[in-house]
């Protein structure tokens, strides 16, 4: 399993260096400029809004919204354990997806070898998936 993963990542980096249109790091420069501009937009609009908007807060206005009554108890209370289970399951299956991606772009080169290896990998996960289903981890009540 580990060998396959290594092989996949090795071929993936081959792919990054070799094929494709333009493969230079300068391709990332516009992306970083874009991120800078996209960060500036909310900052600038907030600054403009601060300059022109009215600012007249008082106690009742600043209370957390709870349908017009005074807030009861803590707003950061305990919540159902289901959300944690979903988060844990997500981590497992998201890692699975990440392993599938490099294989997918190389699937036509790796052919039967890659296919069988990936099916073994998927089979292990599908067994786990069936198990969590049977255990009721996917039930939301």
């Amino acid at each position: 399993m580990r060998l396959t993963a290594l092989y996949l990542f090795a071929s993936f980096s081959d792919f990054q260096q070799g094929r494709g249109s333009v493969q230079m790091p300068e391709n990332y420069v516009p992306a970083f400029i874009f991120i800078a501009v996209a960060l500036a937009i909310p900052v600038v609009t907030l600054a403009i809004a601060k300059a022109v908007r009215p600012d007249n807060p008082f106690g009742t206005k600043l209370m957390p919204y709870e349908c017009g009554v005074d807030p009861e108890g803590s707003a950061r209370g305990r919540y159902t354990v289901r959300f944690y289970i979903v988060a844990i399951l997500f981590v497992v299956f998201d890692v699975e997806t990440i392993f599938l991606f490099p294989w997918a772009v190389q699937a036509r080169t790796l052919k039967a070898f890659g296919f069988i290896e990936m099916m073994v990998f998927l089979a292990i996960l599908i067994v786990g998936y069936i198990w969590i289903w049977k255990k009721g981890a996917l039930e939301w009540v």
Binding site: Q16, G20, S21, E26, N27, Y28, V29, P30, A31, I33, F34, I35, V37, A38, L39, I41, P42, V43, T45, L46, I48, A49, V52, R53, D55, P57, K61, L62, P64, Y65, E66, C67, A75, G77, Y79, F83, V86, A87, L89, F90, F93, D94, T97, L100, F101, A104, V105, Q106, A107, R108, T109, K111, F115, M118, L122, I126, Y129, L138, E139, W140
Partner: protein, 340 residues
């Protein structure tokens, strides 16, 4: 091409792209209000300008001029950072999306895309998943029960459907053999669209459902179910900060619509004819038309379907879309990966 010219072209393209994207977001809001209104036998906005065409401008002005309340007991740094994070990430995803071939101005051959990186698809997936943080932090920092519940729901929903979304793309990747969106489109040239030519209609269905859930749209808009959660994670936000969440949601809609077009509907592939300038304009036109079609489907479904219940939503994602996407990977890799 010298570096200074390269940067200059990049900056001009970024300015145009952001202007078009933000304007498009504003006008999709208007189009949505108009279409939903007509579906519900009302008129929608009609007062500001002819047919209400200046409504987005009026809305924008109002967002800037309204008082921006920061309720007491919020955790201020995160409360302010959350909408900015949401908006920045939603806008940045557009940076790697190509909208057409390339144009030649003078001696420079300019591709119609801000930047063509070979891992474009991974970048978009990464940005959309980090986008969950904006919502999760907003809900936690707001110090309101509605916000917290809304953001918890949103986070759980988005990470659940992200799996189905990611898995539905594998079939496309097997066919195209590249993460570069431009190459994925090129691999579909000549009506060989992934939707039918490589039989990715199941993947397309999974993608569409997951995309609706990822952008928190009807029928998956549980995070802001107004009948139970007031406004969900942005209950405590007002004025410009609320507008940022709002624009981010629509920018995300554009991203998933563009991605659907690029991955499944052949991108800018379509009939091309006429003189040289038309050969450049027509592909862009096809691309824009396909994206508009998707946005229309979004609005149409909002006017048609009621909201899911939360357990139904989770069951749909985990017990239906996930196995369906896995089955699609199995069959696609068997047929395309082994035979082609």
């Amino acid at each position: 091409m010298p570096l200074s010219q390269y940067i200059l072209i990049a900056v001009v393209k970024i300015a145009i792209a952001l202007f078009v994207l933000l304007t498009a977001c504003a006008y999709v809001v208007l189009a949505e209000r108009k279409l939903i209104a007509r579906m519900q036998n009302r008129w929608g906005p009609t007062r500001v300008g002819p047919f209400g065409f200046l409504q987005p401008l009026a809305d924008g002005l109002k967002f800037i001029l309204k008082e921006d309340l920061i309720p007491s007991h919020v955790y201020k740094p995160l409360y302010i950072a959350a909408p900015m994070l949401s908006l920045t990430l939603a806008l940045t995803a557009i940076a790697v999306i190509p909208i057409g071939q390339s144009v030649t101005i003078g001696n420079a051959n300019i591709p119609l895309q801000i930047t063509d990186v070979n891992i474009a698809l991974l970048i978009i997936l990464g940005l959309t998943s980090v986008g969950v943080y904006g919502i999760a932090l907003a809900g936690w920092a707001s110090n309101s029960k509605y916000s917290l519940l809304g953001s918890l729901r949103a986070s759980a929903q988005m990470i659940s459907y992200e799996l189905a979304l990611g898995l539905s793309l594998i079939g496309v990747l097997i066919g195209a053999g590249s993460f570069s969106l431009r190459e994925i489109v090129n691999s579909q040239a000549g009506w060989h669209w992934n939707l039918w030519y490589r039989g990715q209609f199941v993947a397309f269905f999974v993608y569409l459902m997951a995309a609706f859930a990822e952008t928190n749209r009807v029928p998956f808009d549980l995070p802001e179910a107004e009948t139970e959660l007031v406004a969900g994670y942005h209950t405590e936000y007002s004025a410009m900060k609320f507008a940022m969440f709002f624009v981010a949601e629509y920018a995300n809609m554009f991203t998933v619509a563009c991605l659907a077009t690029l991955l499944f509907l052949g991108g800018w592939d379509g009939p091309v004819f006429g003189p040289a300038w038309l050969m450049v304009v027509l592909p862009v036109l096809w691309f824009v038309l396909k994206v508009i079609l998707f946005i229309f489907v979004y609005i149409w479904i909002r006017g048609t379907l009621p909201r899911f219940r939360y357990d139904q939503l989770m069951a749909f994602g985990w017990k239906f879309l996930l196995p369906l996407a896995l089955a699609n990977i199995l069959i696609t890799s068997l047929v395309i990966g082994l035979t082609a």
